[in-house]
């Protein structure tokens, strides 16, 4: 068997005294796309945050291996350099910091980690222009400060654009579909699909099924109350679209009807 890209075992975590994740088990192999779905408050975004290393969560038990390394022991920037990318649900604005400058700094950190030479301005621009076409982004975006004054859709596309430039081993998309109209959704999904490679994996977190019309997952997991309550193929997403979450969450009640 191939070495898993990501292997989460019995992950339990929360904030202060409140448990949010209550024993998550999830393995992603290279080349796979996993979707995590679930109602609001089920712990989807917490999972994404913990994988990326956001502060403020207490991990009470469990392990997370990323390409055989102990992910939880790594600083957020080390995780990023090693190839974990989080497309944020709410990308933050960084006033005054030029987008090109920011992305070049990020890429060169990743390249340094991979033992590659830093890209100079010309090569970088070449690469960036290519990737911008992929996401149908306007070039003036690169001249603006990071996310400042971007529309909701532009911010989300910019996240996927950064992902395209950084070429992570594991991309985590945290509700990337929220706030996108259908055209923008298609562009983003196509971008994500083009970035799929046999050696990389994607973890797509979403509340709605509609994103999965465009990004076809190999597995769908339903997260409820901090646990994965059901795992299935892409048809599970359709079933959820039709029946909602209730039949999974309250199976007894659903059966009684």
């Amino acid at each position: 068997m191939k070495q898993p890209l990501l292997e989460i075992k019995d992950l339990r975590a929360g904030v202060e005294d409140k448990a949010i994740l209550k024993g998550i088990n999830l393995t992603i192999l290279p080349g796979e796309v996993h979707a995590v779905m679930g109602p609001n408050g089920s712990g989807k975004s917490t999972l994404a945050s913990i994988l990326a290393g956001r502060e403020g969560y207490e991990i009470t038990s469990g392990t997370v291996q990323f390409l055989g390394q102990d992910l939880l022991a790594m600083a957020p920037e080390e995780r990023a350099r090693a190839g974990v990318f989080l497309a944020f649900q709410y990308p933050v604005e960084i006033p005054g910091v030029n987008s090109t400058y920011f992305l070049k700094a990020a890429l060169n950190e990743v390249r340094k980690h991979r033992g590659l030479p830093e890209l100079d301005a010309i090569d970088f621009l070449q690469l960036v222009k290519e990737k911008m076409r992929l996401l149908e982004l306007k070039e003036d975006l690169l001249k603006r400060p990071v996310n400042e004054g971007f529309s909701g859709g532009e911010k989300k596309r910019n996240e996927i654009f950064q992902m395209a430039v950084l070429e992570p081993a594991l991309a985590i998309l945290d509700e990337t579909d929220s706030g996108l109209d259908i055209d923008a959704l298609k562009i983003v999904a196509e971008g994500v699909n083009k970035l799929k490679r046999p050696d990389t994996g994607q973890l797509v977190i979403t509340h709605y099924q509609r994103l999965l019309d465009y990004i076809i997952p190999d597995y769908v997991h339903v997260l409820h109350n901090g646990r994965i309550v059901r795992t299935g193929g892409k048809e599970l997403a359709l079933e959820l679209e039709e029946k909602g979450y209730d039949w999974l969450i309250h199976p007894a009640a659903a059966a009684g009807v």
Partner: protein
Amino acid sequence: MSSATATIEEFVNKEYQYGFVTDVETDMIPPGLNEDVVRLISAKKKEPAFLLEWRLKAYRHWLTLTEPTWQQAHYPPIDYQAAIYYAAPKPKKTLGSLDEVDPEILKTFDKLGISLNEQKRLSGVAMDAVVDSVSVATTFSTELAKHGVIFCSFSEAVHKHPDLIEKYLGSVVPYTDNFFAALNSAVFSDGSFCYIPKGVRCPMELSTYFRINSANTGQFERTLIVAEEGAYVSYLEGCTAPMRDENQLHAAVVEIVALGRKSEVKYSTVQNWYPGDKNGKGGIYNFVTKRGKCLGESSKISWTQVETGSAITWKYPSVLLLGDNSIGEFYSVALTNNLQQADTGTKMVHVGKNTRSTIISKGISAGRGQNSYRGLVKIAKQATGARNFSQCDSLLVGDRCGAHTFPYIEVKNTSSQVEHEASTSKIGEDQIFYCNQRGISTQDAVSMIVNGFCKEVFRELPMEFAVEAQKLLGVSLEGSVG
């Protein structure tokens, strides 16, 4: 405290790298201040009678003044009798050329990254190097003289161009101006003088580098810049000092006269005096009076300052806009870290018609630093059509620092326009995490965000200074957030 904050703390605590002392023989007078000391300083410099008279008048006036206390800074009382008012590296003999400068001093400047050797300098910057009370070397004077530009130490100007000194000394900042200006006028020891004749665009950047070396001395230098009709000069000032546990007083005066029509002076400062240690011990008290006077029609004076050093910074580079259509500008970045305090800003006084002024102030507070912007925009009755735009932004790094803004606006002409914008922001954990998630370390992220915040000011700096300023900001921020 979060780990991002902890890293920023560490980052800000990087040591001051200019804190060494040069071992040279120093000619020093005993501590204390009285009329005899003033006479002694004047005698040591073999000054003409008018100057001694002026010093004495200043001294007598100073005696009548009390030290102001309105600034937003706290420090124990200064004992003016404990300070030494004159210290000079002892020359081996009279200086004829750079070759005769004490090699220890040349080494000092090399260590500071400043070569006084003209041949070694690639960039077109002429330098006047001031150590403690005296100018030790001025480069490119001969080259500049070909263009009619006078650039020399203040002492030299007193001897070679006494008429110009007598005419313009105190013409912008009179000795009666304020407590520290009066003190400076009485005991100032050296500084730079610069005169740009009519129609000359000064072919290189002029620069003064101030270095405090001796302990327990005060540094009181004066800079005087005069630009005739159509003249242009860009002037740079840099400063460092050794690390010492005592506070040292630096009370300088800078006067700029934009005399003729369309004359223009651009004055840039990168101030990096020793800021004290992270517990607030030691550091320079930087109490400085800087002012320019736009006399000529359509003349222009522009101040750009990057203030990262000093335990306390207290200064307001200002412009009196007398000539019609004259322009005043003030671009400032002031950073306070650890226990540093800064109370800085500007005064733009509009008197001429259609005069314009721009104020862009960026204050960064980190650690337990306190940063105040204090500014005055005054539009006189006769200043028809005057305009001002002010923007004061504060950036907080951590949660133990402070930012304060004290804008004063006095308008006496109804046809004028005054705009004031202000903002306060904080480097958020979210911004840091976003950068981290893209592989950028917390240290680099803070530096990137702070530099982004200061961009509008940095682009006003001459190129090589801008690069220097960015680096300096990075170093000064190390260990700064909390």
